[in-house]
C-alpha cells in the first residue's frame, strides 16, 4: 500500500520497551487481519491504532473526514474524524447495558445528527430501520432493552452504531466472538460489502484463523509484542499462520 492512498498509517510503533517497531498502512477497500497467540501484542496494536492505548513510541496517522491528516492520540477525537472501533468485550466496553436498542445505536452518531443542536430523532430512527434491514437485526422494538438481544444481534447494533457515523476506517477486535454461525456468515458478508462497495478499510483482529483466511487480503502475525510476519493473500494458509504464531518460518 502506497503511503499516499493510505487512510490509516502507523509508523515506528513500539508496543513494549525493546520490542521491534511496527510500520503499517491500510487503504480503501482493504481488509487486514491481525493474528497471534493471546497476549502477543495484537490487542495492544489495534487499541494503539484507535488511540485507546498509547504505545511506547511511534505515531498513528488518520486521514480524517475533513481531508486533513490527523494524529491519533485520543479515541474520542479520532472517532469524530471517522475512526470506528468495535471492542472485544461486548458486555463491559461495548453495549450500554441498561439502555434501549435505539439509544445504544444512536449514541455515537449523535453529534452528526442534530439540527441547530437538537437531536434529530426521526432521522436516527430511519437510519436504525435502514441498518436493521441491511444487517438483518432481530429485536422486539427499538425501545427494547439491549440486554434482551442475542450476542450476535448486540454485535450488529454496535456495528450499526458506527456505520451510522459513516466511518473512514473500521477497527474490529474479535467481532464474531460469541456469535452463532448463521450470524457470523451474515457479518462476513457485511464486512466484505463494506470494503468492496463503500471502500471502507477494515482491520480485523481475530482469534480464529479460519475467519482471517476467509475474509482478509493480508494478515499481520504478532509475536512478543512485535510484528513477526506479514502474509499476503496468496501466501496465507492455516499452516503458515499457525507456524508464524509460534515463531516458526513455515515451509
Amino acid at each position: 500500500m502506497t503511503e499516499k492512498r493510505a487512510i490509516l498509517t502507523a509508523r515506528g510503533v513500539r508496543l513494549a520497551p525493546g520490542a521491534s517497531p511496527i510500520d503499517f498502512a491500510i487503504g480503501p477497500g482493504e481488509i487486514v487481519g491481525l493474528a497471534g497467540l493471546e497476549g502477543h501484542g495484537q490487542d495492544m496494536f489495534i487499541q494503539a491504532l484507535c488511540g485507546l492505548h498509547r504505545p511506547e513510541a511511534g505515531e498513528i496517522r488518520l486521514q480524517g473526514k475533513d481531508g486533513h491528516v490527523v494524529q491519533v492520540t485520543e479515541f474520542a477525537k479520532a472517532a469524530a474524524q471517522g475512526l470506528a472501533y468495535l471492542p472485544r468485550d461486548r458486555r463491559t466496553t461495548g453495549v450500554l447495558g441498561g439502555l434501549s436498542v435505539f439509544d445504544n445505536f444512536a449514541i455515537a452518531a449523535l453529534p452528526d445528527h442534530q439540527r441547530l443542536g437538537i437531536v434529530d430523532r426521526p432521522r436516527l430512527k430511519e437510519k436504525l430501520a435502514h441498518f436493521t434491514r441491511e444487517l438483518g437485526m432481530v429485536y422486539r422494538s427499538p425501545s427494547a432493552s439491549i440486554g434482551t438481544l442475542s450476542g450476535g444481534n448486540q454485535q450488529k447494533v454496535l456495528l450499526a452504531r458506527w456505520l451510522a457515523r459513516e466511518p473512514r476506517v473500521m477497527l474490529m477486535n474479535d467481532p464474531t466472538r460469541g456469535v452463532d454461525l448463521g450470524t457470523r456468515m451474515k457479518l462476513y458478508e457485511v464486512f466484505r460489502r463494506l470494503a468492496a462497495d463503500q471502500g471502507i478499510p477494515l482491520v480485523i483482529l481475530s482469534s480464529e484463523i479460519e475467519e482471517i483466511l476467509q475474509l482478509c487480503h493480508r494478515v499481520l502475525v504478532f509475536r512478543e509484542a512485535g510484528l513477526f510476519a506479514e502474509l499476503e493473500r496468496d501466501a496465507m494458509t492455516m499452516d503458515r499462520v499457525i507456524a508464524a504464531m509460534f515463531g516458526q518460518e513455515a515451509a
Binding site: F75, A76, A80, T92, G97, L99, D103, V119
Partner: protein
C-alpha cells in the same frame, strides 16, 4: 402517559408519597393549599426543589459524581446579591442581577467540574472543599442576618414563584433534546462503554457540574426572595435535603437513572412532610428523625437488590 410512566418505574414511590402527603396537607391546612395562596406555597418549596434539580446532573453522570456545594453556593448567592449587589453597588434591576447570579453559578460549577473531572479529585472531597470555601466567604461577607432585597426578588417567593421553576424546567426540556443529555445518561450508566462509543466522557461530566452550579444559583435567588435578607446560616442545610430529595425521587446515586420529575417529586415530598409535621408543632429534632426514617425507608424500597430478592421469592 402510561407509556411515559412505564419507562420510569423508579418514580412510583415518590409519586405515591406525593399524592398521600398532598391529601394530608390539604386536609390539615386547606387555606395554604388553596389556589389563591399557591404562589406563596410554591415559593416556600422552590429553593429546595431547585437545590434538588441542581444536585442531579453530577449524580446522573455516575462514578461517585455528586455536588455537595449546592447549599453553600445558594447561601453565597444570597449574601452576594444582598450585600454586594444591592447594598454595595446599588444594583436593583433584575436584568443585571440575574445575569450576574447565573455567572456566579457557572463559575462555581466550572470550578467544581475542573476539580472533580479534569483533575479527577473524588467528587465528594472536591465539592466538600468548595462548599467549605463558600460557607467561609459567606460568613465573612455577612456574619449575621442583615439587609433587605428589592421587591421583585421578594416576589419570587410570592406571586411570581413559578417563574424560576418554569425557567429551569424549560432549560431542562431543551437539554433533554441535545446530544449532551443522552451522553450524560450513557456516561452515568457505563462510562467504559460510553468511552469506547467515542463520547468525550470528561467533557460531559464537566458540563454536568456546570449545570449544577447554574441551577443552584437560581435556587439561591429564590432563597433570597424567601428570607428577604442576607442570612449566612440558612442555606447549608439545603445540600443534604437536596440529596435526600433526589434519592427519594428514585434517582440512582450510582448514575444513569433519573430526571427532572424525580427530583421535583422528591423535593416536594420532603417539603410536604415538613409542612404536615410543623402543623402539629413537632419539634425540629423529631423532624430530623422523620426525615431520616423516610429517606432510609425510601432508599431501601428503591434499592435494586431488594427488588431482585422480592422477584426471586415470587418466582420461587
Amino acid at each position: 402517559m402510561s407509556r411515559w410512566l412505564a419507562g420510569r418505574a423508579y418514580l412510583r414511590l415518590a409519586a405515591a408519597l406525593f399524592v398521600v402527603l398532598l391529601a394530608v396537607n390539604i386536609a390539615l391546612n386547606p387555606v395554604r393549599f388553596a389556589p389563591a395562596s399557591l404562589g406563596v406555597t410554591i415559593g416556600l418549596a422552590s429553593g429546595l426543589i431547585l437545590a434538588a434539580i441542581a444536585s442531579m446532573p453530577p449524580i446522573l453522570a455516575g462514578r461517585g459524581g455528586i455536588d455537595i456545594s449546592v447549599g453553600p453556593l445558594m447561601g453565597l448567592v444570597n449574601v452576594v446579591v444582598v450585600r454586594w449587589l444591592v447594598e454595595g453597588l446599588g444594583i436593583e434591576s433584575p436584568f443585571l442581577i440575574v445575569p450576574l447570579v447565573l455567572l456566579l453559578g457557572l463559575l462555581s460549577g466550572a470550578l467544581n467540574g475542573l476539580l472533580a473531572t479534569v483533575l479527577r479529585i473524588q467528587p465528594i472531597v472536591a465539592t466538600l472543599g468548595t462548599s467549605l470555601f463558600y460557607a467561609g466567604i459567606t460568613l465573612t461577607i455577612v456574619p449575621s442576618p442583615a439587609g433587605t432585597v428589592p421587591a421583585w426578588i421578594k416576589a419570587l417567593a410570592g406571586p411570581t414563584s413559578i417563574l424560576p421553576l418554569a425557567a429551569v424546567a424549560l432549560l431542562w426540556l431543551l437539554i433533554k433534546r441535545l446530544p449532551f443529555y443522552e451522553q450524560l445518561l450513557c456516561v452515568g450508566s457505563d462510562d467504559r462503554a460510553a468511552y469506547t462509543a467515542g463520547i468525550p466522557v470528561t467533557l460531559v461530566r464537566f458540563l454536568a457540574y456546570v449545570l449544577a452550579g447554574l441551577i443552584a444559583a437560581v435556587g439561591g435567588l429564590c432563597l433570597t426572595g424567601l428570607i428577604g435578607s442576607a442570612d449566612p446560616n440558612i442555606a447549608g442545610t439545603y445540600t443534604l435535603l437536596a440529596i435526600s430529595a433526589v434519592a427519594l425521587g428514585g434517582v440512582s446515586l450510582a448514575g444513569g437513572r433519573g430526571g427532572l420529575v424525580a427530583a421535583v417529586l422528591g423535593a416536594a415530598d420532603i417539603f410536604l412532610l415538613q409542612t404536615a409535621l410543623t402543623f402539629f408543632n413537632v419539634s425540629t429534632f423529631v423532624l430530623q428523625i422523620v426525615y431520616g426514617t423516610v429517606l432510609t425507608v425510601a432508599v431501601v424500597l428503591n434499592a435494586d437488590r431488594l427488588r431482585q430478592l422480592l422477584r426471586r421469592r415470587r418466582h420461587a
